[in-house]
Structure formats: structure tokens, C-alpha cells
Symmetry: C2
DNA sequence: CAGATATGTCAACATGGCTGACGTAAAATC
DNA sequence: GATTTTACGTCAGCCATGTTGACATATCTG
């Protein structure tokens, strides 16, 4: 029988490879969120506020329903966060013109400043990783992450991250 | 002056590219954790239990301190989760032989079963994404994620995900 | 006008982070 | 051998962020 170490076991290797891919995602996300979290904490905000600010900044005038769909949380959870942001002057709500039931979401100047401050750090981290890894690697990163998203959602996400 | 649409603004493109990289990570992580979360919920466990089980399975006999370092939470937070897992027979603690202050962590057979059940789903998701994206893309995915991890931690993580 | 829709709100609860304080056993050091 | 440090556990209380369920209001649509 062949030496165990030199015998190739593709199934085992494959499992190992997958486990590594899983753990890398865990570690990367841990550190990726750590920096914003600590900045937001200065303002008495948390990760939930960050997510709201990020997506409102990205698509000013979006509806509450749209934000709920992206975040996959209940309206009660979002409401808490959103009303804090409105009360403290980071987010503004305007009635929709076409549909006046809607409360369209906008960042105020104060909100944009906070968004900038947090996202600068986060973008710097991604920029550095992109630079170190190279353009081809970035393409791979995007492909795999897209593949990790629920199939039913993929088209929506693609559209959402591309359209501006 | 040139047409705005056709004029190339590399800085803007770069920001857009980075924002997309950020959002992809958000969406991928959201769905990546969603499936395990719902399985764990059947057992009355949450994401915190999953993480503990995952890393104990991956490195049986690890110390509590090692797990704390990986998870970056306080011992009080981990303790709550760990004692539930021990009480309900998913995790076993054995005194270290070299250092008898240590409580080395092991999954019981019951724990391994749960781990398998959850990780199968997660591995299937990653396997599918890997397959669709191709080997080269996988290399890029790994490179970029590694680059997103805190620099001070990168060497440790690399060693930890490679050594078995 | 009736019903559906977009949003808000109240209340109660669970999970999983946190801090601070204190305790015990074992190892390491002086 | 006494003292200090280390590894771990535990009690208590707080906060952020998720959940469910029920109900209210304004507005749109058929």
C-alpha cells in the first residue's frame, strides 16, 4: 500500500479546501466589520445603523420596503434603528410624490459625513486587498461571492450593485 | 468639454468597484449564515453555538483560550454558549495533561453529528460556488479574503486554516 | 366604496455581545 | 516554599439587535 501522505484523496482534499473557504469568509467578515463597528460606537450606533446608512447613501430616495428586503430583517427592527437616525438628524424621510404612503429615505449632510467617514476606512481595506491580490483575483473574488448568494436573489443583487 | 458619460473617471470607477466588493461580501455573508442559522434554531442554538462547534470540530482538544482568540469575544460570552453545549451533551471538556488548568474542548458524537449536518449544507453552498466560478476564481477569492483580514492576524490565520 | 398596501407603533421576548467583580486550582517564579 | 501569574469559571447587570403578534393610519387601486 502506498504511503498515506503521498496517496491522493481528492474527496478529503476537497473537504479541506471547502472548510478553508468557509473559515476565510468568517475571518474576513470579522475584521471587515470590526473597524466600522468601533467608529459607529463613538456615535452610540451599531452595525445595524451602519447598514442602513450604507444602503440609503447608495440609493437615495429608496423606500422603507426596499431597505427591508435588502437587510432581511423585520420592519420593527429597522424602525428602531431608523427612528434613531432620523431623530438625531442623520436620515431624512420625505413623502413620495407618486405614492404618498411611501417615506423615501435620504441621508442629511450630517449622515453623509458619517457615511463617508466609515466607508473610507472600509474602502481602504478593500482597496488594499484588491491591490495586493491583483485584478484577476478580484474577478475571482466577485464570482465566488456572487455564487454564495441565494440563487433566487442573485439577479436582483447583480442589478442592485451595478445600477447607479 | 467632453461628454460626461464617455469621459473616464478612474477615481469614480474605483469607488464604485470597491463599493460593489463591499456589498457582495455583505450579501454573501448574509446568505451564507442564513442556512446554518435556521438549522441550529431547531436545536435552540444560534450562530454563536455554530461557531464554537465549527472550531472545536476543526481542532479537537483546543483550549478555551484558543477559541476565545479566534472568536474575539469575552470569556463570559463564550462561557454561556459553551456551558449550554456541555450540558446538552454536544461538547466535552477534559483536563489538560501537560497543564491541568486547561479544559480541552472536544465534540461528543452527538456534537459531531450536529456539526456534520450543518457543515454539509454550508460546504455544499461553497462547493457549488467554487464549481461555477472555476479554480482560478477560487484562488482569487482566497487571496482577496486573506487580504481583508487584519494584517497582524494574517499569518496566524494562514497557519490555522492550513495545519491539520 | 372596499380592500390592499406602505408604513408606523406598542409590547414582550430571545440571543449574544459587553463590563466588573470575585473565586479556584494549578503553574511558574522568586 | 511562599508568592504571583495564569487558565478558567461564575454571578450580576446592561445594551444592541433580532423576533412575533396585534393594531392604527393614510393612501392607493379596482
Amino acid at each position: 500500500m502506498a504511503d498515506v501522505k503521498s496517496s491522493i484523496n481528492p474527496l478529503f482534499l476537497r473537504e479541506e479546501e471547502l472548510r478553508q473557504g468557509i473559515e476565510l469568509l468568517f475571518y474576513a467578515y470579522r475584521d471587515f466589520t470590526g473597524e466600522p463597528d468601533s467608529i459607529l460606537a463613538e456615535y452610540g450606533f451599531g452595525r445595524a445603523h451602519h447598514r442602513a446608512i450604507h444602503f440609503i447613501n447608495r440609493d437615495p430616495g429608496m423606500t422603507v420596503a426596499a431597505l427591508l428586503t435588502i437587510l432581511r430583517i423585520t420592519k420593527q427592527s429597522l424602525s428602531r434603528v431608523l427612528s434613531q437616525l432620523v431623530e438625531e438628524g442623520y436620515v431624512e424621510q420625505k413623502k413620495g410624490v407618486r405614492d404618498r404612503r411611501q417615506r423615501l429615505l435620504y441621508l442629511t449632510e450630517k449622515g453623509r459625513e458619517l457615511e463617508r467617514r466609515v466607508s473610507e476606512k472600509q474602502r481602504a481595506r478593500v482597496a488594499k486587498a484588491y491591490q495586493e491580490a491583483g485584478a484577476e483575483a478580484v474577478e475571482g473574488y466577485r464570482k465566488v461571492l456572487l455564487g454564495l448568494i441565494d440563487e433566487t436573489d442573485r439577479a436582483t443583487v447583480l442589478k442592485s450593485i451595478q445600477n447607479r
